[in-house]
Subunit: 247 residues, 2 copies
Amino acid sequence: MRHFVLTLTYDGTQYAGFQIQKDASTIQGVLEKTLRDILKRKVRTLSSGRTDAGVHALSHIVSFKAKTRMSQNALKKALNALLPQDIAVTRITEAPLSFHPRFEAMKKRYRYTIRNHSARSPFDRFYTVFYPYPLNVRAMRKAARQLQGQHDFKAFQAKDKKERSSVRHIHRLTIQKKSPYLTIDIEGNGFLYKMVRNIVGTLLEVGNGRRSPEEIKTLLARKNRALTGPTVPAKGLCLLKVVHPPF
Amino acid sequence: MRHFVLTLTYDGTQYAGFQIQKDASTIQGVLEKTLRDILKRKVRTLSSGRTDAGVHALSHIVSFKAKTRMSQNALKKALNALLPQDIAVTRITEAPLSFHPRFEAMKKRYRYTIRNHSARSPFDRFYTVFYPYPLNVRAMRKAARQLQGQHDFKAFQAKDKKERSSVRHIHRLTIQKKSPYLTIDIEGNGFLYKMVRNIVGTLLEVGNGRRSPEEIKTLLARKNRALTGPTVPAKGLCLLKVVHPPF
C-alpha cells in the first residue's frame, strides 16, 4: 500500500465546495471518480480541509492510499489528462501511511482579492469581488494588526457552526494595494468556518470608514458574530498554501 | 444628434464573435440590445473591426449615434449596470458625426498568450493556449523579424476570405517569455482574416524546430496558405488596442 499526496489547484466557480456530497458536484467527488477510473477501484481521499462553494485553491493538499505500481509521474499525467479543465494536479509525492493532511497541517495561507477600481473587468469576474469605493488602507492595516496573534475568534465564526475551541493563531495578516487590486493575505494555524470571509467583511467596513480600527479589540472581546461585518462572497477567496512538516 | 465612442473590454468565451448575427449571441448584438433598452430606440453601432468567436478584447472601439441628453458618465454607468459581466465599457467619449471607427483606425495591437509550462492551470484556461513543449524563443524572434514591415500576407490569410489587397504593414512583432507565459504582440495597420492566428501557428512551428526561421521569407514570397502553419485557437487571442487620430 502506498500513500500519495497531491497538490491540487482549482477554480471553484462551478463546484459546491471541496467536500464530497451526494447530489452536488464537488472537487473531491470529481477527484475520487477520476482516481477510480484510473486505478480501477474505489479510492477514498483525505484532505487538508474543506473549501466552501465558489472558493478557489492554488495549493490544496489531498492524499489517498492505493495499491498500484504506477509511477508518481504517470499518475499525475493520467489525472491531468482526465480531470476537468478547472482542476489540475501541480505536484505528486508520497508520504508514510500514517500521514494525515488535515491533522498535520501546521498552517494555511489564504488570499482574498478585491477589485478596488471604478470599472469592473470581465477577466477577473470569477476571482475577485468588485468594490468601486475608496478604501482607507492605512486604517485597514491598523485593524489587521489587532487580529494578528492568538485570539478567541468566536466573533468571526459562522453562527451555525461550532467547534470545540474557537481559539486560533493568525501569524500574518497583510494588506497590499496593487491597483486595481487590493489583496488581503491571512496566514494562521487554522481557521473557523467562514472566519476569513468574516474578517475581510469587517476589514472592509474599517476601510470605508463605517468602523474604526480600534473597534477590533472590542469585537474580539465581545465574541458576538452579530457585531462583526458581513461574510464577503466566496469567489474572492483562494487557498494559497498549506504547510506540513517534512515527511 | 451625438456620436458616442465606447471602449469595450470583453471575455469572448461565450460569444460567436463580435459582429451581430441573427441566430447567435454576439458582443455587438448584446451591446445594441442594451443600448436600445437604455435609449428606448433602435441603435446601430459601428466598430473598429470584427473579432472571431472566442477572441477577447481589452480595448475594442465601438461608436453609435443617438439623440439623447444623457451625460457620457450616466450612459457609461447605465451600460455597465446592464451589460452582462463578461462585457464592460471602460471609456466613453464623443466624436464628430463623420468619425468612423474602422475606416479611421490607424493601427491595431493584438496579443497572443501561450501557457508554455509543463502543467496546465485552471485559472488561465479561457485566455491562453496550453503548450507544454520546449520553444526556441530566439528562433521565433528571428522569424518574427522577417514578418515586420510591409509585405503581401496572402500566405497567412484564411483561404475562404479574399480582400482587395493582402498587403499589410506590421509595425512590431515582439515575443516575450515571462514564465509560465510566452506572449506574442503584433501591431500593424490592419490584419487579414485569421492572419494573427496563422502567423502565431507558423511561429510555433519555428519554435518547436519543425521549420527554420529563414523559411519565413520564402513563405511570404510563395503566397500560399497551404504552406504556412495551422490556425491557433481563438481563446489565446486578445485585441489590446486600436489607435485612431485625435478627434
